[in-house]
């Protein structure tokens, strides 16, 4: 490889060629360690080609040298590694300063790849290798695995690298009509749709509008395309109803015209009323021996190099053609100073038109009815050096070679296939057209319109007319009817564009049908003979069309070969199913910017300032304990002891809060919960237990009656949203006169608990009688705390004198500050969720979803006291009664350990009866207050009586014994919380 520092590269053509490059800005980069210079606007491939570097990468299977094929990112030939990013399309990716680029898939160096030896043993790697090798000889995997793994994949990822997340995001787009493709048909469609009144988004994958108008030759003079492009593009830019997106690619079509559009690191989400797919066509390669050599490329690729990048594709070219475009390419090459050795036309008698005549006038040799039999090469297949040409004596049959041409460039212009991927995604039916020898869309779904060469239209004036018609029809479909009705073109100029059989087997093989997977004609034939005789089966067996380019250049040839080998009629066949994405998408695009909402209480920052270890609770963050992780257990014990002996403060803002108001509020709660609330006095609270229709416990909390018609209902942190939904759903049926509002976030809450809590609270609460008589256990009051309007509840979750204080959330931090200050004299300290769990367990209180599961009813949880028998109905009541009558299979009990030296069981350790699993431990802790293990567990009902023992299987399979004891474990007479 020779690096060149000549201005822009030795193959650079003078301006005005090079529509996309800016010759005033040079960019230096490295490829395979060599320094190269290109221009801003160059792709990696065009900059390398300008510097006469044609070998870009190595093929997947045989490690054959590969170079430019399409110059539009439709093939896998140009996949390169750029820095730590593998599989970048060199003919799409723009060069950047100091970019470090390497080829892919080689062992050693790109130039001297030891992996090329694989080709020598190709007989041992037949099509269907996996099927044949591992179907019966499964043990052979041990031998092959390291080899297969070494060969698998393209590019390199350093798994030990310090991965960084690049910034990707997503954005919605809005329009009435989307036009995908900014070529002549797309431009005409966008203009017509906009003029009909629709708001249009035009999506073009190239940096510039115009599509083939910018590089293809539409007439003898060669300026018709660029003139038309300029006119259309400027009209589009002047049209206020059109938003143009260049360098943007629509990678799929999804239901109801949902279109992902990728542009740079952004993933756009576009939904439109109607879409025009003007995605063009894909030039197809001819299949002949060594058709994959660097220097052999599509005719359109050469034209792109010349016109878009100002790069000479070679010095001496042979053009293999079957259409008018090949002659246009000959003229383009001549004008660019490239010698054209010959035009080889597959057609026996091509039509004589102005372009053909111009080539003849230029004195270029034209061989009709001939094809390339073989391409020769230099230096281990690094570049094409010439071709041998033979007469066509039958479909896919060549006579003896009659001539050889030395050349360094071969252009293939033998036909097209519609770029119909998006149409396929939308469910369009394609049929094979025997006149144009192409598949064409026959039944396009509603709200989807095709235009241009994807719609079997090739004559430029017909393409423009087709675009205008599609734009008008799409706008009309979207509800706009300005202007007169248009009709589609009658003549589309699709004939004489595509040869029916540009496939020429050679005795020595190596005629590549699929460049991605190194599949040759014989591979497909062998696959068919192995029994995989349909296109879909052959695809899976041979992997044809399964490489990175997804069959863009192999699918049609594969169908033709299957047709011939099986005798099936092409008209009844189709290419394999094409699914999104149309082009490779990165995970970054799919992920976008990660939105990860979280909820914080008003006191969140106070907890952090106090050294809290925060823990998630649903979307919320709650303080687990306050202090260093290393001291966790001691801290939790200290926090527990401070509540038991002094006064503690916990943030309970995350608990759910629901205002249930209205004349039927009490009746509503009666139906929603197991208890009864009709007679609950104003100023009092009562426990709530919610079950679903199957009687399973789903939530619990407290109902605080602040008015005859107003209950403030608390719910669990993670359960409140579900409770709220259930309430709305049920009342939609019951139609009680009640209003439910989820006010969880609107209130911050704390629980000040401990024997000194009243003393502390009294310092900041002056408008409520806090005496045991004035504000007894389970009482609720409204008043102020530190001047802040508050709802106060005397509750006993932790088993001590305590007050829950709920205030408007904006005051939460001020409330916390006031209570911490007021309690300073008493040694108040905050306690976290971990200490609260210990405290509540010492009191034997359950936590729904920890001590219950998806099957637990109130009787299993040993909570019949929470089920009112005096009312006719509550949700789940009847189901639980039936389950009770049928007999319980387990029961929740309090337990301690028979042997105090045994280890504390953990949650979900199994409870056994003999060898049978009958339950599990739900909570267990070594109680700081009781100095022994206490816990809750499901046991067999026969073992549920106090004093019974049961087996617990703990770590390592060891069996220890639990003893059932009554709950509460601590302060069984509840004197402390009721003081």
């Amino acid at each position: 490889m020779t690096a060149s520092n000549q201005m822009g590269g030795i193959n650079r053509l003078p301006a005005p060629r090079g529509l996309l490059i800016d010759r005033s800005k040079q960019i230096t980069f490295t490829f395979e360690g060599h320094s190269f210079t290109g221009y801003a606007g160059d792709t990696v491939a065009s900059a390398l080609a300008a510097n006469d570097a044609w070998m870009i990468s190595r093929s997947f299977k045989y490690h054959r040298p590969r170079g430019v094929l399409t110059m539009i990112g439709q093939d896998a030939n140009t996949l390169v590694q750029i820095g730590d990013e593998p599989n970048c399309l060199a003919d799409k990716r723009a060069i950047e300063p100091d970019m470090a680029i390497e080829g892919q898939n080689y062992i050693g160096t790109l130039e001297a790849d030891r992996g090329r030896m694989v080709e020598l043993v190709k007989k041992f790697l037949p099509v269907g290798f996996y099927y044949k090798t591992f179907h019966e000889k499964r043990d052979s995997w041990r031998f092959w695995e390291p080899i297969v793994r070494a060969m698998a994949g393209l590019g390199k990822i350093d798994l030990k690298a310090d991965f960084h997340h690049s910034y990707y995001d997503k954005k919605y787009l809005f329009a009435d009509v989307a036009v995908i493709g900014g070529g002549p048909a797309g431009l005409a469609a966008a203009l017509q749709a906009a003029e009909t009144g629709a708001e249009v988004i035009l999506v073009e994958e190239s940096p510039q509008l115009g599509g083939s108008l910018n590089y293809a030759r539409f007439d003898e003079t060669g300026d018709g395309g660029s003139r038309t492009s300029g006119e259309l593009a400027s009209r589009v830019r002047l049209q206020p109803n059109i938003t143009v997106m260049t360098n943007a690619i629509c990678s799929g079509w999804f239901a109801d015209n949902w279109l992902p559009v990728i542009q740079g690191n952004r993933f756009h989400k576009l939904r439109v009323k109607a879409v025009v797919l003007a995605t063009g066509s894909i030039e197809q390669p001819a299949v002949f021996r060594n058709n994959d050599l660097p220097g052999i490329m599509m005719g359109s690729a050469a034209q792109r190099l010349i016109h878009l990048y100002g790069v000479r594709p070679g010095k001496r070219a042979v053009i293999l053609t079957a259409n008018r475009d090949g002659y246009g390419q000959a003229l383009d090459l001549l004008e660019a100073g490239i010698e054209v050795a010959a035009v080889i036309d597959l057609r026996p008698t091509p039509p004589q038109d102005t372009m053909t005549k111009a080539v003849q006038r230029a004195g270029i040799e034209i061989r009709t009815g001939h094809a390339i039999a073989e391409a020769m090469h230099i230096g281990q297949k690094k570049h094409v050096s010439g071709v041998s040409v033979a007469p066509i004596i039958g479909e896919g049959e060549l006579g003896k070679a009659v001539a050889e041409y030395a050349c360094d460039t071969v252009l293939m212009s033998v036909g097209y296939s519609p770029a119909g991927q998006l149409l396929h995604h939308a469910g369009t039916k394609f049929g094979y057209d025997t006149r144009s020898h192409m598949f064409k869309p026959e039944a396009v779904p509603a709200h989807v319109f095709a235009a241009g060469s994807v719609n079997n239209t090739f004559d430029l004036s017909a393409v423009l007319a087709d675009g205008r018609y599609a734009g008008w029809a799409a706008a009309k479909d979207a509800g706009f009817e300005r202007g007169s009705e248009l009709a589609p073109p009658v003549e589309r100029g699709a004939e004489e564009q595509t040869h029916p059989w540009p496939i020429f087997p050679h005795a020595k093989g190596m005629e590549f049908v699929d460049f991605d997977e190194d599949l040759k004609i014989e591979d497909l034939i062998n696959g068919i003979h192995d029994g995989y005789d349909s296109v879909e089966l052959l695809k899976r067996y041979s992997t044809v069309g399964m490489g990175p380019s997804q069959g863009k250049h192999s699918a049609v040839a594969a169908v033709r070969i299957v047709s011939r080998e099986t005798g099936m009629d092409l008209r009844n066949m189709s290419v394999t199913t094409q699914r999104p994405p149309y082009t490779p998408e990165k995970f970054g695009h799919l992920a976008g910017r990660i939105f990860d909402p979280e909820r914080r209480t008003a006191m969140h920052h106070r907890h952090l300032e106090l050294g809290a270890q925060m823990m998630p609770a649903g979307l919320w963050w709650r303080p687990g304990y306050y202090g260093a992780k290393a001291d966790r257990d001691q801290i939790i014990r200290d926090e527990v002891n401070n509540v038991r002996n002094n006064v503690g403060l916990i943030d309970v803002s995350t608990l759910g809060g629901l205002d249930v108001r209205g004349p039927d509020a009490a009746e509503f709660l009666n139906r929603m919960y197991t208890f009864t609330y009709t007679k609950l006095q104003v100023g009092r609270s009562r426990y709530l237990l919610m079950t679903d229709q199957t009687g399973v416990i789903t939530d619990d909390g407290v109902a605080c009656r602040f008015h005859d018609e107003h209950f403030y209902v608390t719910a669990t942190t993670s359960g409140v949203d579900g409770v709220y939904r259930q309430m709305l759903q049920w009342n939609a049926q019951w139609r009680l006169d009640v209003d439910v509002a989820n006010v969880t976030a609107a209130y911050a809450g704390v629980n000040i608990a401990g024997p000194k809590s009243r003393e502390v609270l009294a310092r900041v609460c002056h408008d409520i009688d806090l005496s045991p008589e004035g504000f007894p256990y389970l009482g609720v009051r409204m008043g102020t705390v530190a001047g802040i309007p508050a709802r106060l509840m005397r509750v006993g979750f932790v088993g001590e004198l305590g007050y829950e204080i709920h205030v408007p959330a904006s005051y939460g931090e001020a409330l916390w500050d006031a209570l911490m200050a007021a309690g300073g004299l008493n040694g108040i300290r905050p306690f976290g969720v971990e200490a609260q769990r210990v405290l509540r367990l010492e009191k034997g209180h359950i936590i729904v979803s920890q001590d219950t599961d998806g099957l637990t009813n109130a009787y299993e949880a040993d909570m019949p006291w929470a089920v009112a028998k005096s009312k006719p109905f509550h949700v789940g009541g009847r189901s639980a009664e039936i389950q009770l009558k049928n007999g319980l299979t387990r029961k929740l009990v309090g337990f301690t350990l028979k042997n105090a030296d045994d280890p504390c069981p953990e949650e979900c350790h199994l409870v056994l009866k003999g060898s049978a699993i009958v339950g599990r431990v739900t909570s267990a802790v070594h109680s700081p207050s009781l100095k022994k293990v206490v816990g809750l567990a499901y046991v067999h009902p026969d073992d549920a009586q106090p004093g019974s023992t049961f087996d617990i299987k703990v770590h390592g399979g060891r069996i220890i014994q639990g003893t059932v004891v009554p709950i509460p474990f601590f302060d069984p007479e509840n004197k402390r919380q009721e003081m």
């Binding site: 954005k171 989400k269 909402p597 979280e598 909820r599 209205g662 006010v743 976030a745 408007p808 904006s810």
Partner: protein, 242 residues
């Protein structure tokens, strides 16, 4: 002459969940409605005004707001002098510059004007009572909107483009009229957006879960970055309003 003492957010009892982030961004505060609102960032008011015209976001969370919902709500508010039209998902401007956002046939979210005096809102909150007549007349129920939702205002010509990065609603000026309401998902959380332009500058109230304010504020600013957007103070909004 002695300088006026600076307003410090944690010196007042009503606090925006965001006040630390506002402080870090260089906010200067003034007391409104018993809380500290960021009135400016830095000393260059012209720059801040230009930012507000192009792409700005202000935290109005301490400013007054309230809500009412349930049967009889709209009728009761109309008897209290409010102008509320028939259509839901429309906000109706009141004579004092407040906006009554009709979220549903029987639900109103009332946000104060940028003056933040809270006169109308205080009066309504004080007027609502259970009543003693039997059967009680249906007048809806107050909802604690002052504290359920953080309140941001997003301003500037780039606002629709910015919203398209975090929300699936088309907020472009010719598609989303002044007074229109979207109750939707914003940066993956529920929220309410109401367009109420300030003079000729597009402006959108953004009301979302107060507990997620700390998350949403930087998430929106992240989306604003490509438009050189950033926080603006209440003073800039008042100047835009004219």
């Amino acid at each position: 002459m002695n300088a006026l003492p600076k307003t410090v957010p944690n010196g007042l009892q009503r606090r925006s969940f965001l006040y630390r982030q506002l402080q870090q961004a260089g906010a200067e505060f003034a007391e409104v409605n018993g809380g500290a609102v960021a009135i400016r960032y830095g000393n260059n008011e012209a720059v801040e005004l230009d930012r507000a015209k192009a792409m700005g976001i202000a935290d109005l969370s301490v400013l007054p707001r309230t809500g009412f919902k349930g049967t009889g709500t709209v009728e009761w508010l109309q008897t209290q002098g409010l102008t509320i039209g028939q259509e839901s998902n429309v906000a109706y401007r009141q004579s004092g510059g407040e906006w009554a956002a009709r979220l549903a046939p029987t639900e109103i979210f009332l946000v104060d004007s940028l003056a933040g005096s809270g006169q109308l809102i205080d009066r309504l909150n004080q007027s609502w009572a259970w009543g003693s007549e039997k059967p009680r007349k249906a007048i809806g129920y107050p909802t604690p909107r002052q504290d359920s939702h953080a309140w941001f205002m997003v301003t500037g010509q780039h606002a629709p483009d910015m919203f398209a990065k975090i929300c699936g609603i088309d907020f472009r000026l010719h598609k989303f009229a002044v007074g229109q309401i979207a109750q939707t998902s914003i940066a993956k959380m529920s929220g309410i957006i109401i367009r109420t332009d300030l003079g000729t500058t597009p402006a959108y109230h953004l009301l979302a879960d107060i507990a997620s304010a700390d998350y949403l504020w930087p998430a929106v600013q992240d989306a604003m970055k490509e438009f050189n957007g950033g926080p603006v103070g209440l003073n800039a909004l008042r100047r835009l309003e004219g």
